[in-house]
Symmetry: D2
Subunit: 247 residues, 4 copies
């Protein structure tokens, strides 16, 4: 009998990652990855108390060694488990600076997490996703989702590092989607075009109605829907914006 399939979420914080984790935890044991344990500890406890199953692992997705160690822990915990869903929600430091004031480190901040990190995360999760694709009894095809941003399709001034990283992530997502779709893995990219309503942004757009921000739980619903699409209906890209967003 196949091991029970798990879901892995990278980039868990008090926003989208947490919402996504809760949503997928209703269906699968979940692995939550974040650099800082503060970002997942209470959530892991919450999920485990409410009948789900979660473990948190501290990991830096931009570090091959750190991510390797993290997935060794996953293997210890869920030996040989297929992966039903892998969500890459990590994002590099957002740097908004004139090009001539930007240190190489500023410029590369986006790349290391959003691109190299997404590449490494994909390499670690695709074997488990492929395994799930071979499970004839699986309810849904395995799904790998990448969180993008407005900057995935729009490169504004002062955003050279962030936008180039997000454009790159989008390309990576498409390339993986094309390679692995014939093997049964559904890969999707989400262009999150707007401010997400999370603790860090609570003072943004303060004078605007709630519909000026994106709901983190709503993103989780959209990701869940993607993960339930059949092999005869893969959506490889969605955009998401709040009702009041200008675009």
């Amino acid at each position: 009998m196949a091991s029970k399939a798990i879901a892995v979420v990278a980039g868990v914080g008090p926003g989208t990652g947490a919402s996504v984790a809760r949503k997928f935890a209703a269906a699968y044991p979940v692995v939550l990855l974040a650099r800082n344990p503060d970002n997942y500890e209470s959530l892991v406890e919450e999920i485990n108390k409410s009948g789900g199953k979660a473990i948190g692992i501290s990991a830096d997705v931009s570090s091959p060694e750190s991510l390797k160690a993290a997935f060794e822990k996953v293997e210890q915990e869920y030996k040989g488990a297929p992966i039903a869903a892998a969500i890459f929600n990590a994002s590099g430091r957002f740097v908004r600076k004139p090009l001539l004031d930007m240190a190489v480190e500023d410029f590369e901040a986006g790349y290391h997490v959003s691109v190299k990190g997404a590449f490494l995360f994909s390499q670690h999760t695709l074997p488990g996703l492929l395994k799930h694709a071979e499970d004839k009894d699986a309810k849904y095809p395995p799904t790998l989702i990448f969180t993008g941003a407005t900057a995935s399709v729009k490169a504004n001034a002062l955003m050279s590092g962030f936008a180039s990283a997000k454009f790159a992530l989008r390309a990576l997502s498409t390339s993986i989607a094309k390679e692995f779709a014939p093997k049964g893995v559904h890969v999707a990219h989400a262009i999150i075009d707007g401010v997400i309503d999370i603790p860090r942004t609570k003072d943004w757009l303060k004078d605007m109605p709630a519909e000026a921000k994106i709901g983190a739980d709503d993103i989780a619903d959209a990701y869940w829907h993607l993960s339930t699409q059949s092999k005869r209906c893969f959506t490889n890209e969605i955009d998401i914006r709040p009702m009041l967003e200008k675009w």
Copy 2:
């Protein structure tokens, strides 16, 4: 008390339109529009027998008069009803011809249905959609969905009329989305990139597995999901393709 909201589907045939109609009929009384009554009669009967409510109206979406008459019938049947969902699934005659062999009528076949028809359909449904947007008790924001195709984003040789119509429809969808989102109407465009598995295409890709075609019911599921998104999470465009599609 508000009248019960309805759903309107234009372009009902034995494929996507029928699947969409069935899906939305589970939640709303539905109005089915098609040029030929043969395309909706048995479906209307099926829906009404199975506990839903459906009416079919013969209409040519490319004709202002025909569409006006059709919506007068809708008004007779569902007086003042808000519209929870309007799905434009009609598509002009597909013409694949060298440019120099193409009659004006060939070239315009796509435009009249896909562009002018979509414009007229939008004008007739937006008042009802706006009415639904004002209903505080509505479960979901009203949604207007347009069915696009590969040719919505890719203009190949010999496809000048079809592709220009589908590009135009995509622009129309975006323009309406931007105008009406602040008023609470969710507008979405779906790029259907592949062969849909319907009676007309049963001999296409015959030697390929089922995953080489898009499931019409799966499209309906995706549209339904779009129609359930909250005001804090509008997806304005999705692509859809089967697992085995090359893209």
Copy 3:
């Protein structure tokens, strides 16, 4: 011996069309098409006086009959002449209106000229362009250029008709480019993203420096450059904006 190749410019007015006409008149006898003879008469005179050769023909590009008659006059004047360059610079009436206030005529104003007109113009000029492609002594491959706008790639609110027409034109251009490139015809689309500095716009952006507007002569230079590209270097799309444009 081959007849001397000509250039044909549709949509000649006191702006881009005139600049393009002057530019190409330096190399080829030119045919200028405009609905209103006022738009080409003085220009025809100017070109003929300054050593070039020009004829003006009154034509409505959106009318098959009118365009047919116009090209019969071209044939009378330049019997069997190959076409070295054909520039479609006509544009439908710009209508900016809420969707629900837009008459069908408003919506279709863009389509008739920009899409149907471009289709008809292409059908009339491609035989001459193909003829030029077969001329081994031709200095440059024949070139067909379409003038687009910001709205060719961006569909804003209140611009449903204009944007859908410009999206459609872009698709048409690409489809023709793909069909005719193997036959030696170079087809290009120009996204003119900004206000062109012409008499009609002289009061726009008045407080801004000259670099806030696009120079009509500069567009003509860009089109000329496109028309001189070799068969080993076809550019199928350019964007053009002034230095001070926000994009």
Copy 4:
């Protein structure tokens, strides 16, 4: 009096870079950067013999230190010279591999040269470009050009590293274009969509006519044209393909 403006070309080899260098050397003293002196030595000699002025500097564009040293040499040679044109033509190692077989080094090969290298090159050339923008007597606005590829807009399977780097480069180019256009610097990105006819590709497409490949000199002509556009007509992106390319 202003120092004579120079042009800087990064990524000089026996193909596009050499053609570009020759073209710009007809107007400006040129600086040629390449990792391997073999790639520029004979070209430097050729240009200097034929009446131009060229220096070659060995540099690894992906290394901040190496590029810093290179531009110190430029400063020694052409003290305080404004830069009329800077062309970034370097490209990372092309790696085509299944994602799961790709080493981090393979994946990053594209990034280091095409993205980080382009960022560093921009930081080193923009001060000189800005200086040229202030020269009232300059014939043309200063121009910074980046060489892209099919993969700049199309991310195929097995191309995750290359495509993500090229997408990123495109975003970088746009971001810089938007930041520096108001300051008078013209930034352009070229999508080179096809095989360039260079010594390394001489056996590719052997059975096809010459029009199946892009001419390196033709690319240089297109770049030169970009560099001559006025402040009232900046083209920020062009595509380039040979007549016989499928796209």
